[in-house]
């Protein structure tokens, strides 16, 4: 993880531990795309995804003290989300069977072992981990441009990040090039 990214995350976790609600909200912003991506990969409904989100956020909140290094944060969130999704799928599989929910294309029992779940969602987690390894400013820029939705203008981004409008385009290009390199280092399959 880049020095600025790691130190920002460390500060964020530290502030959460001290009861800073705003820091908690920022932490939630970081992990939300990963949680919902995993849920989406496993074809969960909106309600189910929201439910999983609540469980994972709760577990993270109550175990913040045990997360020793910020690099482990996304791994922890990814692992916890997969575990909760797996538990949900096992619980609902029988109900789905009775209700003949095949039309939902729910994966079969053979397809949703923990190992399969890991492989299906590993790509998303690798991607998110690489994203968080960017220098903090570059991460924030890509997040505003792509992850947060809403399609903000360069002017809005400039105001939020305190970055000159003219530098947003070049910084975007540089960030994407750096992200590509980070993904290659993790043997990401493009």
């Amino acid at each position: 993880m880049s020095n600025s990214g790691a130190s920002e995350l460390r500060k964020l976790v530290g502030r959460c531990r001290q009861g800073d609600k705003q820091a908690w909200v920022e932490l939630i912003d970081l992990i939300t795309p990963l949680i919902f991506s995993i849920c989406s990969t496993m074809k969960l409904s909106r309600d189910e995804s929201f439910d999983i989100f609540g469980q994972v956020a709760y577990l993270l909140l109550t175990r913040l003290d045990r997360i020793r290094s910020p690099e482990r944060l996304l791994s922890y969130v990814g692992t916890t989300t997969r575990r909760e999704v797996y538990a949900l799928l096992r619980k609902t599989r029988f109900i789905d069977y009775l209700a003949e929910q095949e039309a939902l294309n729910r994966p079969s029992q053979d397809e949703t072992t923990p190992e399969v779940l890991y492989e299906l969602t590993r790509r998303t987690e690798l991607f998110m981990q690489s994203l968080l390894k960017l220098p903090w400013r570059e991460y924030q820029l890509l997040r505003l441009l792509f992850l947060d939705g809403g399609n903000p203008s360069y002017k809005e981004i400039s105001k939020k990040l305190g970055m000159p409008v003219s530098s947003i385009g070049p910084t975007r290009t540089r960030s994407l090039a750096r992200l590509k390199k980070l993904l290659e280092e993790k043997s990401f399959e493009f």
Binding site: T32, A57, F146, G169, L176, K180, F190
Partner: protein, 196 residues
């Protein structure tokens, strides 16, 4: 790889379906023969896909609201008399409605809380403009012994006992703010606050 800003713009427009047919064909021909450019497309595609899987900004906002409430509940545990504060995990009232669904057709509200090792789920059914029926269940209880549920905040306190499925019911609760206490015998298991 030397990326060009124009290439990034073109790929974003391609993935958002904003290129003309001619521009799309041209770009796809380039992507077929330019490995690094194709990788860039994959990266931008992942970024856009990650934003789409949170459904929309309303769902993300709902997730943030639940997380904020969760944090407040957790912090309240440090306050006198609130050591056993339950933690909000889910509130369907915060979820944006699916497209095409009118608010008037949605009547049940579902809530979920964590109380220590237990999970409390609650469904609220409106029975009049200003009152609700509450049906709740305690999940993951590793006991057959019943629980007692006490609701305070209305004109008088109401209490109910759980059945063998750990389900309880309050026939009528007026709109207002309530405190719900869950007990087993004389032991207080947890406390949650509910706004009806």
């Amino acid at each position: 790889m030397s990326l060009k800003e124009n290439d990034v713009d073109l790929i974003i427009r391609l993935l958002r379906g904003k290129l003309s047919a001619h521009q799309r064909r041209e770009l796809e021909a380039r992507l077929a023969s330019d490995g690094p450019l194709a990788q860039l497309r994959a990266i931008i595609g992942e970024l856009l896909a990650a934003s789409e899987t949170a459904d929309d900004s309303l769902l993300r906002s709902a997730a943030k609201q639940v997380a904020q409430r969760m944090f407040e509940d957790y912090q309240r545990r440090g306050c006198p008399g609130r050591r056993k504060q339950g933690i909000t995990l889910f509130d369907s009232k915060l979820l944006p409605l699916p497209e095409g669904v009118r608010p008037a057709t949605v009547d049940t509200r579902r809530l979920k809380y964590r109380l220590g090792d237990l999970v409390l789920t609650i469904s609220l059914y409106p029975i009049s403009p200003h009152s609700y029926e509450m049906i709740g269940q305690i999940i993951e209880a590793k006991t057959d012994r019943p629980f007692e549920v006490i609701v305070s905040g209305g004109k008088t306190d109401q209490s109910a006992r759980t059945d063998r499925f750990h389900v309880f019911r309050f026939e009528r609760l007026e709109t207002g703010r309530y405190m719900l206490r869950l007990k087993r015998g004389r032991i207080l298991i947890g406390v949650v606050d509910i706004d009806l």
